[in-house]
């Protein structure tokens, strides 16, 4: 057997292995009782703490309370993604992860952009701005 033939055989074997993998392992992880319970317990903790903090009146600094509550929410979203939605970089050859990253980027732009622009609109167009005195329209 020449080296080229050997290489051809090797390629064929690789492709067969790939095709085999395609059919039987779709990269979807259905999880286990253990992973679902882990996710559930973590979620309960991450829900109970912010509710308890806010119901008890929160910390002295409102900013600190808000930061803790939002922080817990972000962690809980990650917990849900991993333990309930079984996100990983393998399923569908990584395309689900790519779609998620793309969505998060758009989401951040939409949220931060809207809040930033509208905040500035509000501060720069305060009601006390007297249009008549400035001679701007009625």
């Amino acid at each position: 057997m020449t080296s080229i033939e050997a290489q051809g055989d090797k390629h064929r074997a690789e492709r067969q292995a790939e095709a085999h993998g395609d059919q039987h392992d779709d990269g979807h992880d259905h999880g286990s009782v253990r992973s679902y319970l882990t996710g559930f317990v973590l979620s309960v903790i991450l829900t109970a703490i912010p509710f308890a903090i806010v119901m008890a009146g929160g910390f002295e600094s409102r900013f600190l309370t808000a930061a803790v509550v939002v922080g817990m929410a972000i962690v809980q979203i990650l917990v849900h993604m991993v333990y309930f939605l079984h996100m990983n970089t393998r399923s569908d050859e990584g395309w689900t992860m790519m779609a998620l990253i793309f969505t998060v980027v758009i989401l951040v732009i939409v949220l931060s952009g809207s809040l930033w622009v509208m905040y500035n609109m509000n501060t720069n167009m305060m009601p006390q701005m007297n249009h008549e005195a400035l001679g701007l329209g009625s």
Binding site: G8, R12, F51, Q76, I77, L85, D92, L107, L111
Partner: protein, 205 residues
């Protein structure tokens, strides 16, 4: 030289079209749908973020929201998420009865969630804090209402699937549908985390 011609075309390029089993692209397609749904919610969250402080001299979050009710609703949704997970595990084990039982429990929690939310909305409208009262309340009803509508359609889908499974069993098509609804259901729980955090908890601080 002769060795090159001996190699079959299949060694270097695919002579047959790449075959995927039926429904192989369903999960990625459904995921893309969920991501677009997520962007729709992002816009509603952005609207709420912008208008959430515009009370028009009307009632604010502290006058209206009852955190205990929200905590109850959060518990219902979280419990429904894990019972759906157990339904999926039963499905993997080919346990039709177990799957149907866990789906039934999930449906009960979903309906309880909807009942509490409808009660809350009804209560607010009764207080004169309906969606037309202020920009804050319009944004609130749009965001929370859209989520509630998603849960309602999820429940409808759940009932449909339970009937399908009862009639045809856990055939591959039904397993695929269950996997899609699983993503949808857990996704709604993720959105609810955003709702209770940004709408209810931050509003009550």
């Amino acid at each position: 030289m002769s060795t090159v011609t001996q190699a079959a075309p299949g060694d270097f390029w695919e002579v047959e079209p790449h075959h995927h089993h039926e429904g192989a692209s369903t999960s990625i397609g459904f995921w893309i749908y969920l991501m677009s749904d997520c962007l729709m919610f992002a816009v509603l969250f952005a609207v709420f973020g912008v208008l959430g402080g515009s009370y028009a001299a009307g009632p604010g979050p502290k006058d209206l929201f009852d955190l205990e009710l929200v905590a109850l609703n959060t518990a219902f949704l979280l419990l429904s998420s894990i019972t759906y997970g157990f339904a999926m595990l039963a499905m993997v084990k080919e346990n039709t009865r177990g799957t149907l039982m866990w789906l039934g429990i999930t449906l009960v929690f979903g309906l309880l969630f909807l009942a509490v939310e409808i009660y809350e909305f009804n209560h607010l409208i009764h207080l004169g804090a309906g969606p037309q009262r202020s920009a804050f309340l319009s944004a609130f009803f749009a965001l929370v209402g859209t989520h509630g509508l998603h849960v309602a359609f999820g429940c409808l889908w759940l009932v449909t699937l339970m009937i399908q499974i009862r009639q045809r069993g856990l055939i591959p098509a039904n397993r695929r549908r269950l996997a899609c609804l699983s993503m949808f259901w857990h996704f709604l729980d993720v959105i609810w985390i955003g709702v209770f955090t940004f709408v209810y908890l931050l509003g009550m601080i």
